[in-house]
């Protein structure tokens, strides 16, 4: 995957895209092979240790904290809060500045995804598309991500906002040198924001390269047609 770029991962349903994200982020362990990240073998690390190395992911089916507000669901995505300690949590002066910054960033993200007016709501009160947007808002909160894996960010999102989201991802990627891997079925929208693309079929990569070229690859077209 090219560093600091947006890479698109496509493939028919069940081709193994989400499974790949699960294996990279440590949610599933592979039956064989190893996962190398920045020269380090991370195959045996747990998800939280991989996060510490800069790997962030979102879930295709949102995994939200059902009893936390929209606001809280998002702010929890911000790591490194000094107040998250059974001792330091007692002393507000130790974490209040960090918390304020996290709050204003959270409002910024929610403003962007159009959820700000719902910030006091619970995830259960949101529509399907809004849940996806909340999942995305949380994914954009970590402080120093290196590799962000996003599983279908614009599924169920209206086209105008979908374009804005992808444009913003591309901007973040370029400005902060973050690598994005985006799984998407809405190829019409996604293709123009990607720098590179992979296509998967039956658990294997069948094509890679410049996004439009990958889309036109006969093997890819065949796999989508279900041959």
């Amino acid at each position: 995957m090219p560093r600091g770029k947006v890479t698109l991962l496509i493939g028919p349903n069940g081709s193994g895209k989400t499974t790949l994200i699960n294996v990279i982020s440590g949610v599933l362990s592979p039956d064989g092979g190893s996962i190398i990240f920045e020269g380090e073998d991370i195959t045996r690390l747990s998800p939280h240790e991989r996060f510490k190395r800069g790997i962030v992911r979102s879930f295709q089916i949102p995994r939200l904290f059902q009893n936390l507000s929209v606001m809280e669901n998002t702010i929890v995505g911000r790591d490194g809060n000094p107040g998250e300690s059974v001792v330091r949590g007692l002393f507000k002066s130790l974490w209040v500045e960090f918390e304020k910054k996290a709050f204003s960033d959270t409002f910024g993200k929610l403003e962007f995804t159009g959820l700000k007016r719902l910030s006091e709501r619970k995830p259960g009160e949101l529509s399907g598309g809004q849940m996806k947007l909340l999942e995305l808002s949380r994914t954009l909160m970590p402080l120093n991500p290196k590799l962000v894996l996003i599983d279908e960010p614009i599924a169920g999102v209206n086209p105008a906002l979908a374009h804005e989201i992808l444009a913003s991802i591309k901007k973040v990627s370029a400005e902060l040198n973050v690598t994005f891997l985006i799984v998407e079925h809405r190829l019409d929208i996604a293709v123009e924001y990607a720098d590179y693309a992979y296509a998967m079929h039956l658990g294997r990569v069948i094509a890679a390269g410049e996004p439009r070229k990958v889309l036109e690859d006969p093997k890819v077209i065949e796999s989508y047609l279900g041959v």
Binding site: H48, K52, E72, I75, V76, D79, W95, E99, F107
Partner: protein, 420 residues
Amino acid sequence: MASLIGRYLRLQSLLIVVIAVVAIILAFPLLGLTITDVFSITTILIVVLALNFMAGYAGIPNFGMALFVYIGAFALAGVGTRIALALVEIASPGFIELMRSSYPVILGDSGSFEVFVRVAGDPMVNRIMSREVESVIEASPILSLTLTLAVFGFAMIAGALTGILASLAAVRLREDYLAIVLLAFSELMVSVVFDQTDALAGGPNGAWVVRPWLKINALEGLARLLGTIPDVLISLAVGLAVLAVCFIYVERIANSPMGRMLRAMRDDDLAIGVYGRDVAMTRLKIMAIGAAMASIAGAIHASVYILVKAADTYDRVTWTFIPWAMMILGGMANNWGAVLGGIAVYLGRKAIYYYSPTIASAISPILGIEASVAGDILRAQLPNILVGVLIILVLYLRPQGIIPEKPSRTLSKKDIEELT
């Protein structure tokens, strides 16, 4: 609008508090409550707050609370008695020798090590010597304070270590398995290990504790006025102080980024792990803290109940299931709710207990049994049956409890308004 709702909510919680206070005051004459009841409520509230910290906030379904409470009682009954004997022997050398000559029949040929085993392990030796030791301790401020610190220090550390031990095998498990492991571990330790090993703290016979409190004559008058004894007043004062500290601790954590993270972990531990939080380590810490709180409650409780038996005094109904009922009724992940639920369930049980003879004499002709028999059955069974019914009703009708969970208030309203 928001401030109006805020004011309404504040008014509502104020109203709840006022009603609760009035109900409690009325409860004294109506239910025949005594200082001992106030003391019992105090200790059980510490346990409910600890449980709420672990289960309500962090999602650790601790069905082994009784063990952690017992560890504190053991700190007093099993360990405290021996520390007390050692302190007395150090302060006035020859004490053990004196005991040997005073009680030649039971202690005559015991070596010093054996005396230390039997002082908490053998019912006869324990009963006689705990009183003798206590009379030396209660006369000396230094001994009394040293023993207090030793016992509570031990209760806290042993409680925390037991919490860690219990969770080491279990923290990586899924929630339902975790609940079963904790229940089984607690039963194994309390009903088998402690209740069947005489040498630890008297086994099934239990052990008399050495109360660590100093004898304060000035308290006599007040104690008589309240229908109790000075030692109970000291236990109560210590209990209230510990309750206050525990409440402030859990409430502050609840309204810090830590509280928010715990609630998130409870809702989805996989997702919080993906966002870089070490779930196993967090659970371990929460178990250690919650268990230490419960243990201290156990030590305070044992200081009033004097003769403590493992499985008999620290049974799973009183110290695990009833605290769960209190927490569920009051509202999980809400500390005020836990306190309110604790008081409500305690008073409810007390009311049934108090009025069961009256109810019994009313229903006994219908059932064709003697009033006293019906009264005994009601007293023994009705409170627990109703706690069971209460849990089911609350879970059906108002699963969020009396006071529902609220977002963690890390920043003040003013701060938040400035940020938006």
